[in-house]
Amino acid sequence: MIAFEDVAHDYGGGPLFREVSVRLEPGSFHFLTGPSGAGKSTFLKLCYGELLPSFGVVRLMDRDVRTLSRDALAETRERIGVVHQDCQFLDHLSVEQNVGLPLTATGRPLREADLSDLLGWVGLGEQAEALPPTLSGGERQRAALARAIIAAPNVLLADEPTGNLDWEMSQRLMMLMIELNRMGTAVLIATHDLQLIRFAKAQVNARVMRIAGRRLQIAGADL
């Protein structure tokens, strides 16, 4: 689904990580941890083609990202839901319109009932008509998650999705992602919240990857 083959990334000041080879299989559940600045967000951007690897090959849906046309990359992104670290909304559109964007902007049908169900699920039923700038940090992250999953993607990539949430809401969102995973969506979550990882590992068979010393390590069960 997403495969890294001997990947290195370098913004110009030396490689953040190198010799990374990993596969995210359909239905798998992964965490990505590591200290701040280790390159977690960079890794995720490589996973949805926002960045091209400085070295090695990244395959999305079995195709080398370098060979994808612009439209083919866009098509690939229809099947990858992304919760961006800084959320990224269209601030002049309502929460509802933002959440529906992955469907409406790609010409796919959007059912009002699904939209309100989903908003209710992430606790934003009341804020459907609100503008994103009026939301709290936690509400923004929930809206971003709703947008990432509305199109039922094959892969969900989430960059610190619970960074601004209280523990109760973090658990709730975690459960939502676990539920999605059980229905077949591959999930990759970048986080440094070990409590959250422990919570998830009690529910689901999750692998933990860690960027440390410019390498990607697959952590053991001990964490």
């Binding site: 949805y48 926002e50 612009r70 439209d71 866009a74 098509e75 690939t76 992104r77 229809e78 992304v82 961006h84 990224q88 909304f89 269209l90 601030d91 002049h92 559109l93 319109q97 529906g100 964007l101 992955p102 409406t104 902007a105 790609t106 010409g107 959007l110 947008r147 199109a151």
Partner: protein
């Protein structure tokens, strides 16, 4: 919420580029109405002048008072026997006086002036052999001069033709400037909406969708602006004083009858132009930024 509806909403309705397009489209459409009117009127003028002058001519007889009657009789006889001339009339003194009064005022002592005798003639479709007529007149009535108005007609027709060329060049320039402004405004709109483009990319929108969202905004503004400018231009033309049925460059500038439908093509043309220019710009810029 359909793709069409969202496409209309995703680009925020703010920024100077929207105003730039709106205002310049209306100014350009206003100018285009005048250029169009000038091109139509000058074509009409050229036609009128040619038609009015083509089939009339005059013979002017300047001779001492005692010879003038004799020469007039000879000239009339020559004209009668020349093929291609339908009619020849000696202009009576009163007609001549009326002609001069327009230029010199009513108080002129016409009787005291040695005025030449004028004979007006109407040519048939084919017209006479002008060179032959000139030679015959010179031989038989030395005081007679044949004037077929080519002296007047040619420069007038040339002027009208050139005026029409000016008008067409102006229309071309107006179109070119409009396209350039649209290109500028589209680049500005794309540059100032980086966040919109990033978000749309993130959710899988194709270049075509993103470009169309901008193109819709810009070309609809171009249409609205051009419609306003066209309306103003047409009102201004209507407000020009009437010239009593005569096509005249100063007072006759405008359209007549169904000709008033012509400027109505300006707003849709402006929209098509804006559509093409902004589409090309948007695609180019979206490709440049990965």
């Amino acid at each position: 919420m359909s793709a069409r509806e969202i496409s209309r909403l995703v680009v925020p309705n703010r920024g100077q580029s929207v105003w730039l397009v709106l205002l310049s489209a209306s100014a350009m459409a206003f100018l285009a109405v005048f250029a169009l009117a000038l091109s139509v009127t000058s074509a009409q003028l050229a036609r009128n002048w040619s038609a009015a002058l083509a089939q009339t001519a005059t013979v002017r007889i300047s001779a001492p008072p005692e010879e003038i009657e004799a020469q007039t009789a000879i000239v009339l006889e020559v004209l009668r026997t020349t093929p291609g001339i339908a009619e020849a009339n000696v202009m009576v003194a009163a007609e001549q006086a009326a002609l001069l009064e327009a230029w010199l005022g009513p108080d002129l002592p016409l009787d005291a002036l040695p005025l030449p005798r004028l004979i007006e003639l109407t040519e048939t479709e084919e017209g006479p052999d002008r060179q032959g007529l000139r030679l015959r007149l010179a031989a038989e009535a030395p005081g007679a001069v044949f004037d077929d108005h080519t002296r007047w007609r040619r420069p007038l027709a040339e002027a009208a033709g050139r005026l029409r060329a000016f008008a067409l060049v102006s229309l071309g320039l107006i179109g070119g400037v409009t396209a350039a402004i649209v290109v500028l405004a589209s680049s500005a709109a794309l540059a100032s909406n980086g966040q919109v483009i990033r978000v749309l990319r993130l959710v899988g929108a194709r270049d075509r969708f993103i470009a169309l969202a901008f193109v819709r905004r810009i070309s609809s503004r171009a249409f609205i602006g051009a419609a306003a400018g066209t309306a103003l231009g047409m009102l201004a033309l209507r407000a020009l004083p009437e010239a009593g049925g005569n096509v005249h460059l100063l007072s006759g500038l405008g359209f007549s009858g169904a000709g008033w439908l012509l400027p109505l093509a300006i707003p849709p043309l402006a929209m098509v132009l804006a559509w093409a220019a902004s589409m090309a710009t948007a695609f180019k810029l979206l490709r440049e930024v990965t």
